[in-house]
């Protein structure tokens, strides 16, 4: 008997008992769906914490302050910086050349007066800030490298690269004008007036002139890249910073003159963060990173991952028992067929092959169906979780396409089905032809 004959026989058998086959496939599919959805969910959590940590990304990021390291804050997540120190392009380049540094992103923070949208959304008018301008900072970031920065889009979109007329406001900005992230979408599309201040001596006293620009609020973000209420392109922030930098010298403390307020350094994995921080401190800059927090989260996520995988495997094992049961029932019903097969010359091996092909087919189809259902369920879960995270102003979970995981689930379901079908197949193969026909 060839493989083709065995497949044809298995197919015919499955077709004859469609109801049972469908239920068996459904059992495998449910087990596989449970396993794949749980594994995808834990992988997404892992992607958010562990993968970004181990392969570089915002979580393995180190903030470099425009200050010298403080000798009293050696090993802290948020060390007190030392005296101010300029961060310019030369400093950026020297840090970029350090070993285990994946990328160095400049952050510009420049003082700014924000005139909230003249026509505030209805949601904000109830708790308007009396229309008073808001004095805070504009954060200029490299928008082309947004995925390397701790910035999460809550509503709308990010400003275009290099745009001089688009900004995104932070959730803190919404709080300042009496809005919440729940109604963040209402402010998108309105106009913000930005005034970069410059102090000067008018001859009759110290005065301030502003360089005013208008920008459309294209999005709302939650961000930890820098200290400020509004984010923009580096170009927009640089133009404002250049105006303010020409302020007349004031009495101490002097305004910061560093071209960059911070650098965001991405290390080559969490295990390199400490070394990179030490190297940056040796270059002469104060650093901070949430590494100890991440180490703890790492442990929790690993435990959760093991528990979820265990639950999924139990589901799949129950499905395998279902396959075994279905195959044993099939043998009982098909004794005559087995006897006829043997009578016309089929060997034990041929009979075993027919039953294994049938079990493998049920496992494979159930695995494909289960992996698909599991992926869809995981996406729905991710959407629900992300809407909650967004409403809380937290970074969202990015659900990738775990191709290897889905293939592994399908392969695992097929192998498990083959294993579950092995015993029934052996029993069928060993059945003497006379006994098989006689029992009928």
């Amino acid at each position: 008997m060839t493989w083709r004959d065995a497949i044809a026989l298995a197919r015919r058998s499955v077709g004859r008992r469609g109801g049972r086959a469908a239920l068996t496939v459904l059992a495998v599919a449910l087990g596989a769906a449970l396993l794949s959805s749980l594994l995808i969910a834990s992988t997404a959590a892992k992607q958010r914490v562990l993968d970004q940590v181990s392969e570089g990304g915002p979580l393995s990021g180190i903030k470099v302050d425009a200050a010298a390291p403080s000798p009293v804050a050696l090993d802290s997540d948020n060390p007190r910086p030392g005296p101010p120190r300029r961060i310019d392009d030369a400093a950026l380049q020297s840090i970029a050349r350090l070993p285990d540094v994946v990328s160095v992103l400049p952050i510009i923070a420049t003082p700014m007066v924000f005139e909230a949208p003249a026509v505030l959304p209805a949601a904000a008018r109830a708790t308007d800030n009396d229309g008073r301008p808001i004095f805070d900072s504009l954060i200029g970031i490299d928008l082309s490298r947004i995925n390397d920065l701790p910035v999460t889009l809550l509503s709308g979109r990010l400003p275009d690269l290099g745009s001089q007329t688009e900004v995104a406001v932070t959730s803190d900005f919404l709080s300042r004008i009496g809005m919440t992230t729940q109604n963040a979408a209402a402010i998108v599309g309105t106009e913000l007036t930005l005034g970069a201040p410059r102090d000067f001596d008018s001859g009759i006293g110290r005065r301030t002139r502003a360089r005013w620009t208008r920008a459309e609020i294209v999005g709302v973000v939650s961000q930890d890249a820098g200290s400020g209420l509004v984010i923009s392109s580096l170009d927009l922030a640089r133009a404002a910073q250049a105006w303010t930098a020409l302020s007349a010298p004031s009495t101490p403390p002097a305004p910061p003159t560093s071209p960059y307020a911070d650098l965001f350094v991405v290390a080559h994995g969490l295990n390199r963060v400490t070394e990179v921080r030490t190297e940056i401190n040796n270059v002469g800059y104060s650093t901070s990173a949430p590494e100890s927090l991440i180490t703890q989260v790492q442990r929790y996520v690993h435990v959760v991952e093991l528990v979820l995988a265990g639950i999924g495997l139990i589901g799949l094992a129950i499905a395998a028992l279902g396959i075994s049961n279905a195959m044993l029932a099939a043998i009982r019903e098909r004794r005559r067929e087995i006897g006829v097969l043997k009578a016309v010359g089929a060997t034990d091996r041929d009979v075993r092959r027919v039953f294994l092909v049938e079990a493998g087919t049920l496992g494979f189809v159930g695995g494909v169906l289960g992996a698909t259902i599991g992926f869809v369920v995981a996406r729905i879960l991710a959407t629900v979780v992300n809407s909650y995270l967004s409403s809380e102003g937290l970074q969202t979970v990015r659900l990738g396409v775990p191709v290897a995981l889905l293939v592994a689930v399908i392969g695992g379901a097929t192998l498990l089905a083959l294993a579950a079908g092995t015993l029934p197949a052996i029993r069928a193969a060993r059945m003497p032809a006379r006994q098989a026909i006689g029992d009928e």
Binding site: I146, D160, T165, T193, R209, R211, R214, A239
Partner: protein, 212 residues
């Protein structure tokens, strides 16, 4: 056959889900960068915004900035309290040299009326100021004259009109605009909020007449 169709549909659904999952957030590919217009306003107390409750929303230079120019405009209000022409030449005109504005809006003279600056000196200083502004390379210099509400403005307006014509600048006539002065905290009475809207409208009309 039906089984194959079902399997194909399942595979397509899975592929569709995968393709939507791979989308990530990010900026749009079309950058909204473009040429910017720089506008500079020079003036005295009223131009700075004295006399209105919210100068950033109600003072005439900001109203013009908000309504007469595109979003990509950079605007600097160089006005200062009690600025006579002499003061403007020393404390405001250097801004033009530094900013290289495309458009300069000027409303000066009110404080000269109050200070009773001699007309001959006023004329010479206005000439000097417009020379300095021209030297900055501004495409348009738009100058407003003085409304009657400010007092004896006729001789000053004559000087302003003459200098504007000589310098090929553009005139915004406020002679027929019903400006009302309101009290300010211990300062000279200044145009009220409604008057600022009228002044802004006069400037906007002039800007719209010759948008190039």
């Amino acid at each position: 056959m039906r089984r194959y169709v079902v399997l194909t549909v399942v595979a397509l659904v899975a592929l569709g889900a995968c393709s939507t999952a791979s989308k990530s957030k990010g900026p749009a590919s079309e950058p909204s960068t473009g040429p910017t217009i720089t506008v500079l306003a020079l003036g005295g107390s009223a131009t700075e915004g004295d006399g209105v409750r919210d100068r950033l929303r109600d003072a005439w230079p900001y109203l013009v900035f908000e309504t007469a120019f595109p979003r990509s405009t950079v605007f600097v209000n160089g006005a200062l309290d009690d600025a006579t022409l002499q003061h403007a030449i020393t404390a405001q005109a250097p801004l033009a040299a530094q900013l290289k504005p495309d458009v300069i809006e000027v409303w000066l003279g009110a404080d000269d009326v109050t200070a009773r600056t001699p007309i001959s000196l006023f004329r010479a200083e206005f000439h000097q100021l417009l020379d300095l502004l021209h030297a900055s390379g501004a495409r348009r210099i738009i100058v407003a004259d003085l409304p009657p509400a400010l007092g004896s403005t006729a001789p000053y307006n004559t000087a302003i009109h003459a200098q504007v014509a000589a310098a090929h600048a553009e005139l915004v006539s406020l002679a027929n605009v019903a400006i009302a002065l309101g009290p300010t905290d211990g300062l000279t009475p200044q145009p009220d909020t409604a008057s600022h809207r009228l002044i802004a409208a006069a400037f906007e009309r002039r800007i719209d007449q010759n948008p190039g």
